[in-house]
């Protein structure tokens, strides 16, 4: 900084300045999708995310796509498989 600006500042100051995620197979995820996208499936890993089990809603992710699924029975079976009561 320049001396000029430092002095200007100090002068003004003055002296007083003092859920759960479950891996699944592609076959299981295909159960009852409602919003299937174009890129889902085709051999890669599939992730199922159940944010709110009570609502019976799943998000199924594969590749760079996802679909939302509402299937309380499927959610129940996944929870039982995962040992969640």
């Amino acid at each position: 900084m320049s001396e000029t600006s430092r002095r200007g500042f100090i002068a003004v100051a003055g002296a007083g300045a003092a859920a759960g995620a479950v891996a699944a197979t592609a076959g299981a995820a295909a159960a009852s999708d409602t919003e299937r996208g174009s890129g889902l499936g085709s051999g890669g890993p599939v992730m199922v995310y159940i944010e709110n089990p009570a609502a019976g809603r799943l998000t199924v992710m594969s590749g760079d796509d996802e679909v939302d699924v509402t299937d309380k029975d499927l959610v129940g079976r996944i929870l039982r498989a995962a040992g969640v009561r």
Binding site: M1, V12, A13
Partner: protein, 467 residues
Amino acid sequence: MSSHREAPEISKDPVADGTDVYAFVSPDKPSTVTLIANFIPLQKPDSGPNFFEFGDDVLYEIHVANSGRATPDISYQFRFSTRIRNPRTFLYNTGPIQNISDAAWNRPQTYTVTQVTRRGRQTTRKVLGTNLPCPPVNVGVRSTPDYPALARQAVRFLPAGKRVFAGQRADAFHVDLGSIFDLGALRPFNEAHLINMPEMNGRNSTQSFNVHSIALQIPIEQLTRTGRRPSGVSDPAATIGVWATASRQKSRVLDRKQARYVGVGPWKQVSRLANPLFNEVIVPMAEKDRWNIRPPSGDKQYQRYVYRPELAGLLPQLYPGVFPRLAAYRKERADLHAILLTGIPAGVVDGFQNFTGPTPADMLRLNVAVPPTAEPNPLGLVAGDAAGFPNGRRVGDDVVTVELRAVAGLTIPLVDPSFTPDDAAAAVEDGTSNTNAPLLANFPYLGHPGGGYQTEPGTTSVGSGQR
């Protein structure tokens, strides 16, 4: 700063952490605009054996809005791919890397650039380049003996007169992080601080640290909504909005076969950056992570923090008696709202405007009709140099000083002539200057990264007066 580790979540994910965005009319090629987005903050050059690199699992993007809606009318997407040439060595390089395709470089990284253009409901994707090479990092004098040559080889031409570079660069941003985040201290004004100490020069915290940069140089007419160069500064199509993002796939899982995490699901934004320091010092800590995952077109919910910035209230408290007029100012900060969220309308600054419409959105706004300045003033528009920040941002612009002074009230008279700023508003600064690597005169403009071998360690210090 300016967005290095600026939010709790992204500070734990440095590979996706955007640090700075620049947008300026290229000084040596004024028929083009240069867009730069930096990522991976505060890279210590001597960080072997696993040096810094772009994330193969990250989608990096530079967005351009040109239709006044603060939505991405054009996005340039970058995806990286890294391979290991020799799986039987622990070394990054098995000998001097003499050129960018040298087999001695054991971990080359390449990338693909895709342009996504959106007009109404129509989206067009065009791959601009594939298998484009990054340079290696600057390992040191033995491993990368001619680093400038390696960097030059990584500058590639893309269709329709565009150029691209992606790789390590020296950080060009300067700031005194150690002081500012120690209760808002500015070392040159230590004596005036509430907890006063002897004054001293600022310390540039980013000096000697590197970043990873993505740089594009694009003919102006490819960025405007009319497809033409604007007729003049007042042309409504002359201003573009620019921001950068990084995205990760929505979920990831540890793949035991590959011994690494793999991404699954759609790409979700995890980092966003346009104006320096916006998320850093405007947005409250509790909202920073959410801000990072949102689009700029939804920034209306954050404008209250621009109208009444916390820092403007802190300055008079931290520096008692220094900012009495700022402390007494009760109106909304329309000056900051224009600078950061809408652009400056015509009639505020003589012969200048970079207004992009009423939608409040954090974007760098560049009026591409303003020609480059022969001798740039680092204080940009507030110093009468309309080719600099906040008209876009050049790599040499001193954005910390500009924003400190603006928050301190220096720009209020632009919209409220009845206000006279405190004298200190024109003097306040953190006391740092650009002591980083020298900038280049040509694309990609950012200086060459510091070398690992040449790096000297900093100090570990418990200072006087600290119990």
